[in-house]
Amino acid sequence: MIFSNNSIMENTVTKNNLWGGGARPMIASYGKLMMWFFLMTDALTFSAFLGAYGFQRFVHADAWPIADEVFNHFPFIHGEYPMFFVALMTFILIMSSVTMVLAVHHGHKMNKKGVIIWLGLTIIGGLIFLGSQAWEWYHFIHGTYEGALRGADGSIAHFVSGTTSEIIRHGEVLTGEVAASFIASAQEIHGANLIYNEYGHPLFANFFFFITGFHGFHVFSGVVILVVIFINVLRNTYEKRGHYEMVEKVGLYWHFVDLVWVFVFTFFYLV
């Protein structure tokens, strides 16, 4: 996107002093360029997190919970609905990305009313997403009614349904003496936190809280920045400045948050 007031300077700069200062070598403003480079480094941070997640999951494959079996609740409906809620969250975030890009589009046309409408919808989408994430965390932390048994060695087992003497640990059924000694030293747990996780290996919970928490914090800061920009739009700041490039820069950040969620969705819930 090239603003009309940008192109004058570009034409007068020759190739020789392009990087000598005072020019915009990539025909993008300083702020936009730096936003791109920030996002690129942030993407590397998230890659490191997801890479570490994949690695630990591979190492502890036998005790790693299946995300489908952990996150299978849907608000106001009883029963098990794997993937539905997280798919809804993904759609909400994609939708808010669309409203954001439409806000940027109206900004280019200096259409204040359009920017207000679409930016407002983007903020609402962001808030709904944060609410959904809080709901998901709440259920993960509280866990199931049945709970699980946590052995002295930290391994997690569940009762075979209908019995109180047979247990399943890492997909293996234990009975008799072995099961009895495990149950005797075990502790009943519900839900997940940073120390234990009723669904399986505690690292799963640690990574879940850390990665979705880090992403959620990005969404939260995104909403705060969007609100600041929204107030500025209402106060005619960008109208006076002559362009809405700030909306575009914040838009880049917002799309990045959506982009990261696309990857978190794949590597946490699908793979």
């Binding site: 990539m26 025909i27 890479g51 570490a52 993937m83 890009v101 880049l252 982009l259 969705f265």
Partner: protein, 105 residues
């Protein structure tokens, strides 16, 4: 830029993302046998499909929503090239060091 054209493009990309996500969700729920049972370099065909669809979604978000497609070639390369170099490098280091310590492989 024509008014109708660019908003139309945005909505087309929205529908592409919508359909790709729906496909992912359906594959995630039903997990077809022929996809889970076939392995390529130790990863099931299903996971390869997920990763491919995700990268496709990422392409549309970055190119259309973030307008990287409209930027100068030099800017495009300076953002995308580090991704394609550093992320595989990161994974490579992770796997090699892990196998050295006996954690995997």
């Amino acid at each position: 830029m024509a008014e109708g054209n660019s908003t139309r493009k945005i909505w087309i990309v929205f529908w592409i993302l919508f359909v790709l996500t729906t496909i992912e969700v359906f594959l995630g729920i039903f997990k077809p046998d022929f996809l889970t049972d076939n392995l390529i370099i130790g990863v099931s065909l299903l996971n390869h499909t997920f990763i491919f669809l995700t990268l496709l979604k990422a392409y549309y978000i970055v190119m259309t929503f973030m307008h990287l497609g409209d930027e100068k070639r030099s800017l495009k390369i300076s953002i995308i090239a580090p991704m394609f170099v550093l992320i595989p490098y990161l994974l490579f280091i992770l796997l090699v060091e892990a196998s050295f310590h006996g954690a995997i492989g």
